[in-house]
Symmetry: D3
Subunit: 284 residues, 6 copies
């Protein structure tokens, strides 16, 4: 519902960027009375995400365009799978094509990468979450793509949860002081996460009443001990350059959460194309 | 100069997205009178791009921040290399950190990928150019990063050059008709590119007076023949899923231009971090 | 620091609204080379809040204006107290006057009302917090004024914490189901508040693992029992038409939090004026 | 008609402020296919104002919502009176509820306060008008609420009428000079108001050709004499901290206009709530 | 002072429109370290207007640019006259040139046309005023240019004065009814103008208490009679396709005001150019 | 299609500028339930341009308005010709009237002027194109009006083609160097125009590979020789204060293009009015 307000902005910006003062090629070569049918088709294998964004792109280019969804966000697709069918003015379809594909390829890439991590930790009870390492301007839709891929979201921004890192600890004069200052300043509805690099810090953070412990830069043995100490008192989160190679092992330490920057900062676009099926003159 | 106007917008949007109503952690834990010195340090190997964007991020967070550049955009860096030194209020540095890094990691990733392609075709005379497959909202700075990596830019948007693809050809009733319509509609300052999938189309496009031939979906032998026919009459461009594996061979066909979507839609972020070196109270 | 970005917007909007295409009276009657000194003076008794907003108003009208603060946000002032001294072009001071006063009168009204509630519950251990019943468009600065008055903030918006009310409970099929759905959907960094109207609901919410119980529509005896049951398991919050008459008694039930809509929806502006002390021609 | 353009902006801003990236509670607990019927119900006594703004709020949240108005702006309502009935998706109604109520409570508060002043001066021939002491960002709708309450509007902003106050008089070198300068500078369609604190100033302003005299800081006897002198030559306006206690007496002096800042800067919100009547699953 | 806020917007829009993603020619051919001195020079004869807008253009392109004004807005200039001297980075001066000239040529054209009308009615006591027939988006600065040319402004927009035309009269059921409705609806600070096409309407409008009579579509003899009847009771305004040929005669009827749409909708740009005097490398 | 996005902005800005907080006259005098039929009628002779913009104006004022087009953009009209018929709420039609007319009068003026130039060079083979000397903020629609009048467009902005002028040549160290720098910096899809003031420069530019030669400040004999030398190698463009008096002779030199600033900076508005045909009460 209200999400659409935010998608509207990001799509409008993308269209202005790509279309500028007009798609000169299409306006010059395609008569105004030609209609077209087209399919959005997967060319690679992965989890599709972003169909509502694609729909918004075409809606903004031409309210007249009709889209029939064959697959929905979250579906696994293989090369050749049709994601949706589009019908409308040929000019509008050609003009919106690139922006629509840029969005859905990016978001499907994020969802696919997320699904791969989720599978790697399946059975461990750990959840895969995103980070703030998102593409500037696209955080909301990238975080949406993470959920489509089976992941969960971390905080959205600097304003909705406390995360005390080493520099904050130093500036505040220790973990206890930092947590206390934060608890006294922020709404009672906010949680506090404390980054811990040693087991001593784990103990300090637990005594200080942290809600979540970020177990960073630890070997997995130490991390497992940290998890043990926190059990029942705080959630535990592992972070820091987690890769497909290391995810399963880290999950095996019993941490509740693996936050993975690579979901959003280094995903590969899923190849998806728009194929024109038919064009015809509208004689009406 | 005027570029800054556009960077300003994209940076402001990113800061609003990440900071929201305020960095609650930093405001609660770091006193207002603490200053800090920090370094931006490479953690991976690649071509750095985006230092002016990073500078704009910190300028918007706090006009007081001073940045001393040690390396410049275009420099190859290795793990441990310091890119720049930052000095200012600790709160401002911590609040701007993530957004600044998100930009520079993304852009350095694009520049690094570009440099790799440029190296692969070195000596062939072909240029590596980008496409419109850019991240929505970030086209201008991503295209800038391509030039930093030694690549060149293709058209910026749908409004600044004609590119006639298969669907336009069908709609216009052939290559000759499409080129003629376009030439009659667009400013005399615009060039016309025609996508050719066969040598017959190459001949048609040359007769029609195309400025650039996009030799798509051809084996390299056919492409080389297309290049030969176009020599002295039109530029030639190869396109379509060009990879590190295929670039050199394609360049060897003699095409003038290789346009590579992967430069911008599937680059891996270059790992870069912000390390606080020192904090101290400002007693003034 | 980054707060200024948000204040900038709200102030710009207010100035556009009040100044429109220009302050015709001042432009017509006050020569451009007249400078003035003025004081911002309290005409009523209360807690001053909003001096940084007032400063931003004058900064936007004329960067040249100098302001010397005599009192700071949070100070109790009485009629005649000077809050700050202003020096600059007479035209700018007169043009910015009304908007500056509108802000500071409103915000000081909020801070004063808050301080009054805080005093009423002093010693009880309960904190006074605001609600989402703020003036549309001014939430952030009104919530700031609440903290200036000694209050604390509740969640900022619908996106930063879960608050399950009766309609959500009904729709989800009970408290347990609602909490479970929410826990599975939102980031692990978010807390969940559940509105309880009976002690049965208190028990259900505690079993479901709610972080905060909103004890609404209860007599104080029942509320005290709810607090007793929640002790050590969840925070407790009283809400709903809390007035100066009822606040102390409610606080005596032991609740951790009293959320008071009246802080922001029904405060009386604190009377504050701008007095021109001197005008003189700038002969330079 | 065009008013809607302005209401749109102010409502959009309020929704962005309150909903942020999404109503996490409702999205998590209320299924997408649940519809609801709700009533907007008065909990206090007063003049309702702002129903079109409430309608715009729900329209922006979900174009699908239907509203049936039972009362209209300007109606006196008592606790229990239904103002309108709402039908639509449950999620949309719950998400828009707070913003809709914030607007209508504020505006009804203004209208109610205005009606009270209007009643106090009934029969005197004087009109109650607002001032520029409005809530920053909401001037237009607050001034609308004043008219709903039976009051009239003063100038909208600094750009649509001349109002010469003491500082302008000093800067221009007297009333005559100030009026002359203004008459020579502003469009012939603008009127000139002069603030007079003594009867000498009244005479000067009348000779200078002022259209309206603002009789400020005068006892009522002097004010009555000022009114007598101005009769047939200029309108007279009383201003300055007019309260419910003093309004009738001031009106009895014969002034044409009482401008009352309290209408907008210190009104108490009228208590109004949204009650869900029924929810049901949409099986279509 | 606050005017600058509005000029800022209109200039930013113009720069975005003309510079787009960058001045590719200048960036490619002019090294970054070249500075230049340039003059703004009149190539035609007329009244210069818009120097502050020109200054804002260059300020936005590069804050470093220095401008020394030789002439000021309102000065009559002849071919060869230097209006101002500019010094700064060569790139910035070349990039801002066209937008700066577009503004100053347009505004000087308006001022010059105005001055010509003012001269034609000199001695008659009538004032030349503008209309709402301004260039969309540029009303404020065009109305400013009218004052620079010695003209005066009419109302700024539909919201700051009442002007009752034939269609309003018909809809309201006559002049008396229309004036009464308006008087009862608008602030007491607004004046009412009534369009009169016959002497009967003049009498009606005077009885109804109109502040200004718009004597439209009358021969000058009738208009003079209308002026006579209105004398001392209302201002009189002539309107409707007033040209340089007819202005003096119309003024001779004794009307107070001639409103001339041609000032803004059909002025010829004054020819003004930017001449580079010198360029040099900045070795610092 | 996407053009509408840009027209939307420019129309919204114009409406805000003209309507402000509301059309006070119409709201006061015209009842809400009156409907009207009106015609848009030519009062002068020329080429009509801007009907889609007029349509957008009324659409924004009231989505309910119906417009039936009698003539289309590009039609020659004479006094009395009806361009379109409008039906809708009387208030909306009266409120939108001025803005709609301001647009269509301006754009029809541009189209008419263009048509006059096109006719003057008919048969010569030369095309009439516009320049960047457009009204700030209206470039896109003015350039559209040029095409409606039979002209063609030059580059849209500084970012879509290279145009090397004297200052660029000096800064780069000669034509050859300037062209080379530009060719190496800009996309291969961009053309390069070089301004030539002598035949030597023509030769240099041709050798350097310029795509277009701008033959400026030449007598027609020299220009004709320039054209001869460029034939088959580059397009030729004449520029610089081309008037109706000189256009035909310049075209006779054989240049391909005449770029005429006067099309957009000095056109006279075409007189067009809105006539109310009928008003009636809507009893539904």
């Amino acid at each position: 519902m209200i999400y659409s307000l935010l998608i509207e902005d990001v799509v409008r910006r993308a269209l202005r960027e790509d279309v500028g003062t007009g798609d000169v090629t299409t306006l010059a070569t395609v008569p105004a009375d030609i209609r077209a049918r087209a399919n959005i088709v997967a060319k690679g294998t992965g989890v599709v995400a972003g169909l509502p964004v694609l729909e918004e792109v075409f809606r903004q280019v031409s309210p007249d365009i009709k889209i029939k969804f064959i697959r929905e966000d979250g579906a696994w697709v293989r090369p050749g799978d049709i994601l949706c069918e589009i019908e409308g003015w040929a000019r509008a379809i050609l003009t919106g094509e690139r922006v629509a594909l840029n969005f859905i390829q990016l978001l499907s890439g994020v969802a696919t990468r997320t699904a791969s991590f989720v599978e790697l930790v399946a059975g461990s009870g750990a959840r895969i979450v995103d980070t703030r390492k998102t593409t500037p301007g696209l955080r909301l839709i990238e975080k949406y793509a993470v959920t489509v891929g089976g992941g969960r979201n971390h905080r959205m921004a600097l304003d909705d949860a406390v995360m005390i890192k080493d520099n904050h600890i130093v500036a505040a004069g220790g973990i206890a002081a930092a947590v206390k200052r934060a608890r006294n300043a922020v709404p009672h509805t906010m949680t506090i996460t404390v980054e811990c690099e040693t087991l001593e810090q784990v103990d300090e953070a637990l005594i200080a009443g942290a809600d979540v412990l970020l177990l960073d830069n630890m070997d997995n043995e130490t991390r497992a001990e940290g998890v043990r100490r926190a059990k029942g008192k705080a959630l535990t989160e592992a972070s820091g350059s987690i890769t497909e190679e290391t995810a399963a092992e880290i999950a095996a330490t019993g941490v509740d959460i693996l936050s993975v920057g690579a979901l959003t900062h280094s995903s590969k676009a899923l190849d998806i194309s728009l194929d024109i099926i038919e064009t015809y003159q509208d004689l009406s």
